[in-house]
């Protein structure tokens, strides 16, 4: 077993997010709203040597399996990331994140005057562009610091 595989399979149950672009691990945690406050065990590797990326970040979250919408939005800040679902020390699922056509209920619109920021029974929804996301309600484009808009309703 190589050192790489060892890193990925060390936890008993949970999710390993591998091949995150170097420096994005903390934004990944922000997207997942993980700050350790619920007692979950989180390990973060930053600037781990990688054949594919040169340097990569790795995040391991124990006892939590990522939902599809969480995976989708990770692709916006960590397009090369791979998701490994671990059960009983085994990788039971492994998938690449894919750029979704739309991201719903994850990001808050950057436009304070957008209807999705009011008290209406509607989830935010963004079309995914080549280089950002665009609110389907008010057309506002978010390109930079997408992680800052995580919150969702």
């Amino acid at each position: 077993m190589s050192e790489q595989e060892l890193r990925v399979s060390k936890i008993e149950n949970g999710t390993v997010i591998d091949h995150i672009a170097g420096g994005q691990a903390l934004n990944v945690l922000a997207i997942l709203d993980i700050d350790g406050s619920r007692g979950e065990v989180v390990s973060v590797g930053i600037n781990v040597p990688s054949d594919r990326l040169g340097r990569k970040d790795v995040v391991k979250v124990e006892d939590r399996e990522l939902s599809q919408s969480e995976v989708d939005v990770l692709s916006l800040i960590a397009p090369a990331a791979t998701i490994n679902i671990i059960r009983d020390y085994e990788v039971t699922e492994k998938h690449r994140v894919e750029r979704p056509g739309a991201v719903t209920g994850v990001l808050n619109c950057a436009n304070p005057n957008c209807i999705t920021n009011e008290n209406e029974p509607v989830a935010s929804s963004f079309a995914v562009l080549d280089d950002g996301v665009r609110c389907i309600y008010c057309d506002t484009i978010i390109r930079d610091n997408i992680a800052q808009h995580i919150g969702g309703t």
């Binding site: 029974p121 665009r134 309600y137 008010c138 484009i141």
Partner: protein
């Protein structure tokens, strides 16, 4: 047209636009032909912010089709004041009318409300967002006066906040146009609009003054630069003064130049332009009625058949 709701000019294809404009031309030529067509039909008006003119224009359009209107009235007197969500308001009033017209101060409000109703909903302005019927009447006016293909248009004034400008510029990407944008640096087109225009393959040029480009234009679309955009009043006066036109300036323009404005104007078009052949802004406002009649006819006709 296959649309249930008209929330944005962006959803309209070239074919959709031409369908509405052709119908508007037919109605303008023979208003009697439709004057009783929608007897017994009701148009619900939901204006969450005041807009006397747009509301009158829609009311006139519905009544000239033989139908009638039901009006929510001012927000002060409605359930909205008591904190009802827009989604709930829309779901209640759709039971009162055969189609709805809505104006609301938040961007995206019409799109959201349309997701909650089955009757056709027309956006009459959502904050700084879309105002598709204004766009259609602008396109109608341009077609009547200058034609929509092989058109050179200049759009001048507040290009940053002006929703009529964003909608019109986008709709014109369906036609063969050269678009010139004339504004101060601080009020130039927002990124999202430029993105769409590039996407639509339109040739765009930006200018900070009108003089150089004026002789080339077939249409000059003027909008108001609002004082509240400038924290510094003296800066406002200096900037706004550079984006005003008068008859003397228009002497440099082509004889066929069509001058448009969504109105109301204040001083960005001097009154001495009114009596020139260029002035088309009052005709433009009047065109709102046949264009809205055509749109209502296409939307209501589809549900009737």
């Amino acid at each position: 047209m296959r649309h249930d709701h008209i929330t944005s000019a962006k959803q309209l294809s070239r074919e959709d636009i031409l369908t509405v404009l052709d119908r508007a031309s037919e109605i303008a030529a023979d208003p009697e032909s439709v004057s009783k067509k929608y007897q017994g039909s009701l148009l619900g008006l939901l204006f969450f912010e005041p807009s006397t003119r747009t509301k009158m224009s829609f009311s006139a359009a519905m009544k000239r089709l033989g139908g009638d209107i039901v009006d929510m009235g001012p927000v002060d007197h409605s359930s909205v004041k008591k904190g009802e969500s827009l989604a709930d308001t829309a779901r209640v009033v759709e039971g009162y009318a055969d189609a709805l017209v809505m104006r609301h101060p938040s961007e995206g409000s019409a799109q959201m409300a349309s997701e909650f109703v089955d009757v056709p909903l027309i956006n009459a302005g959502d904050g700084a967002g879309q105002h598709p019927t204004q766009t259609l009447l602008d396109l109608y006016t341009i077609r009547e006066n200058a034609g929509l293909d092989d058109l050179t248009i200049g759009i001048m004034g507040d290009l940053k906040y002006g929703r009529t400008v964003h909608s019109l510029a986008h709709a014109l990407t369906n036609f063969e146009t050269r678009q010139h944008f004339i504004s101060p640096e601080t009020l130039k087109l927002p990124r999202s609009v430029r993105y769409d225009l590039h996407d639509g393959g339109t040739e765009i040029k930006t200018h900070t003054n009108i003089e150089g480009i004026l002789p080339e234009l077939d249409v000059l679309y003027v909008t108001r630069i609002q004082e509240e955009r400038f924290p510094d009043k003296s800066e406002y006066r200096e900037v706004a003064g550079q984006y005003q036109i008068d008859a003397e300036l228009l002497a440099q323009a082509s004889d066929d130049l069509t001058v448009m404005h969504p109105l109301p104007r204040v001083d960005e078009i001097a009154t001495d332009v009114d009596k020139t052949e260029h002035a088309t802004y009052f005709e433009q406002a009047h065109n709102g009625v046949p264009v809205r009649m055509a749109l209502l006819d296409l939307l209501l006709g589809e549900t009737n058949e």
